[in-house]
Amino acid sequence: MDPNLYNLLLRSFDSKLRESDQRRLDDGLASSEDLRRARNDIATLRRRLGEMKEPSFKPFFAERVVQRLGRVESSLMEQYLSVFRSVAIGAAVLVIICGAYNISRDNSVSFDSALGFPHQTLEQILALEPPLE
């Protein structure tokens, strides 16, 4: 069998051939018993592939997907929480260190000195007078 004709035959199942190729194939089919048999074999193979029994997953597939989705979501939430926890602890430690540093610089234990506020009255601020030492 002419391999070129056989390739044309295979291609003819999936795409429209050029007019000249189609004519060559038609002539080949008219004259070659082998090519006609090959056409029938390919057609049968393709039909059987199309008719293959639909495979399926094990029973309760949808339930397993939804269950797994729940597990994925809760593990994501746990990851978020663990990231949040470590960031929160780090921030708290930083605030405490800053507070302690401010208090040590100011030599007075008060909320204002922990936050680093200057000891100024509102009048002093408004009058733009230099702060009292």
Binding site: L45, L49, F57, F61
Partner: protein
């Protein structure tokens, strides 16, 4: 409740799934399970890995619900995810095969499993087994174009390859399948 969902169109199930309705998403899984199974089992064979890939396909789809704009149908979109995951799994398998060559080669040459005690193979099983002997790139076009009936253009889009490549792969795959199936000439 579940019966109500069965009558709802895909679009409504999508909307409800986006809002976190697990029942609606479960119904979508039921609707597209067969399509995904055909793709995944066609590609990796009938085994536990196939079930895992199937589940992963729907989890990826769930995570992409908000970005899914409906440019393609849900079926096409999910099939594309399933195909990509299957190809990834086959690549991993190939790497394993490279490491444990002797074991896997033995598996590859196994005959298809008998469907019943009398030893008569069911046609579908023979075909599926023959498909497993094709290399992944040929198996992918056979699964999408010939087994699932997508057009050559859709197959090309899903696999992100030119239509001409789909056609030439189909040609070679059919030749190879015919050679493999020659042993079962009476059935084919």
């Amino acid at each position: 409740m579940e019966n109500d969902l069965k009558k709802k169109p895909d679009e409504e199930l999508l909307q409800r799934s986006r809002k976190g309705d697990a029942g609606a998403f479960k119904e979508l899984v039921r609707r597209y399970e067969a399509k995904v199974a055909a793709t995944v089992i066609g590609m990796v064979g009938r085994n536990d890995e196939a079930d895992d890939i199937g589940q992963e396909t729907f989890i990826r789809f769930y995570n992409a619900l908000n970005s899914f704009r409906g440019d393609s149908s849900i079926g096409t979109y999910i099939t594309r995810i399933a195909m990509n995951l299957s190809l990834n799994a086959l690549r991993r398998r190939e790497r394993r095969r490279f490491l444990f060559k002797s074991i896997d080669t033995e598996n590859e040459l196994q005959e298809p499993a008998a469907e019943n005690g009398a030893g008569r193979f069911e046609q579908s099983e023979i075909l599926r087994s023959a498909m497993q002997r094709l290399s992944p790139k040929y198996r992918a076009v056979v699964t999408l174009r010939l087994a699932q009936g997508y057009s050559t253009e859709e197959t090309a889009r899903m696999l992100r390859i030119p239509v001409g490549t789909v056609l030439s792969r189909l040609q070679r795959a059919q030749k190879k399948l015919q050679t493999l199936l020659r042993a079962y000439k009476e059935d084919f």
